[in-house]
């Protein structure tokens, strides 16, 4: 294995020998140093390409969701999760009030959360649930908050007239290993992974402690 191939393995932290000699060679030989920078550049280009594709994908999801749902609902999910950094309100031809809502969201702390692959799946999952035609769950929790009742036509939806939440379970690409939740204002997203690879989702105007109680009442 010559120094150039060693350099590639070194770059990947996979060099199976003492790197000291190679480090000295990099210092002494500009070509090796240049190649190392080149490898780093290739990584960067490939990473940025992936990020770009990922953003385009989420943007597409957001846009299609926006078409079929209210702006406020879509924005609420995004703000709750913090996925607002790459949205340009101008692209949606929104009215002034809606544009301001999104602009405020982008300026918020939550808006600065980084989008990564796992979060992308999360957005995908939630937008899937926001589309009510996908809410095919018919679960009967042993406990729900006082005053709430189950919608007869859409059993996944619970409401007390003013507040509303969704309880949904299905197979999911999310690789959660423990329950997670996000809360922003009155909006909660609570995800609970089951032992058989499904994800229970509680989304809406509900307290985390109540979401937990509902889920645990399902487990009985």
């Amino acid at each position: 294995m010559d120094n150039k191939e060693k350099l590639s393995a070194f770059y990947d932290n996979e060099l199976l020998e003492d790197a000291q000699g190679l480090i000295k060679a990099i210092n002494d030989q500009e070509q090796l140093a240049s190649d190392l920078r080149g490898y780093s550049l290739i990584s960067s280009i490939m990473a940025q390409s992936r990020i770009s594709e990922s953003s385009k994908r989420s943007f597409k999801i957001f846009k299609s969701s926006f078409i079929s749902h209210s702006f406020a609902a879509a924005a609420a999910v995004l703000v709750t999760l913090g996925f607002v950094t790459y949205f340009n309100p101008a692209q949606f031809d929104l009215d002034k009030e809606s544009s301001k809502l999104l602009a405020d969201a982008i300026a918020s702390d939550e808006g600065q959360i980084r989008l990564n692959q796992e979060e992308n799946l999360l957005v995908d999952h939630l937008f899937h649930i926001m589309d009510e035609k996908n809410l095919t769950s018919d679960m009967n929790p042993g406990w729900i908050p006082v005053g709430f009742s189950q919608n007869k036509e859409r059993p996944a939806i619970f409401t007390n007239g003013t507040r509303r939440f969704v309880l949904h379970v299905e197979n999911s690409e999310l690789s959660l290993t423990k329950p997670m939740y996000w809360k922003n204002g009155n909006n909660l997203v609570y995800l609970y992974p089951t032992a058989d690879g499904k994800t229970i989702t509680v989304y809406g105007n509900i307290r985390p402690v109540d979401a937990e109680k509902i889920i645990f009442s399902l487990k009985r």
Binding site: N13, A19, D35, S40, S49
Partner: protein, 193 residues
């Protein structure tokens, strides 16, 4: 996998030791190895090329100053990445008038700032990036698969060997050949070098 991780720590440990001893050449190698990767991560975080560049420089200044605090509890890049994200969060807080005083006078290090080079990836136009990606797509499948599993999935050589059913040595060679091909293309197209 386990052996690879040990080698990984050993190799970066040598760099860290040298940097800790004030070896600027070792720092340049560390910078060359990680700067573009960090820049890409920061670009994803900030969505701003200028801010990502600024934070990349500040991060490596912090790395230079704080390398002795690295205890090897995570990978070196994870440690560097955490520094960068903390700086980025601080930057956001500062912009919102809520500076929490996390930074430690980095802006005073003007000389060091000027000596840290900018990531090359800034200078690359999106068209050129697309050309590189198109070229990677056109590579022979064994090279394309190997470099993709490494760069996109972060798989180790041993994991790639298992996935592709090839010896680890073959995987190492394919990844090297893919990089050579891509670098040659970038030089021919005057994208790099």
């Amino acid at each position: 996998m386990h052996n690879s991780m040990n080698q990984f720590k050993d190799m970066d440990a040598q760099l860290i030791d040298e940097v800790g001893n004030g070896n600027e050449a070792a720092f340049n190698i560390l910078f060359s190895k990680y700067n573009n990767k960090l820049y890409a991560a920061l670009l994803a975080f900030t969505k701003s090329q200028d801010l990502a560049e600024d934070l990349t420089q500040k991060t490596f200044i912090r790395v230079w100053k704080k390398i002795e605090t690295f205890r090897g509890e995570s990978s070196l890049f994870t440690w560097i990445y955490r520094i960068a994200i903390n700086l980025a969060k601080n930057e956001f807080s500062s912009k919102q008038g809520k500076n929490q005083g996390i930074t430690d006078n980095i802006d005073e290090d003007f000389d060091l700032v000027s000596s840290v080079p900018s990531p090359e990836s800034h200078a690359i136009e999106s068209e050129s990036m697309q050309a590189v990606m198109d070229f990677i797509t056109s590579l022979p499948s064994e090279l394309k698969d190997a470099i993709s599993l490494r760069e996109f999935e972060g798989k180790s050589y041993e994991e790639i060997a298992q996935i592709t059913g090839s010896p680890v040595g073959t995987v190492r060679s394919r990844i090297f050949r893919a990089r050579e091909e891509i670098l040659n293309f970038m030089k021919e197209e005057k994208i790099y070098g």
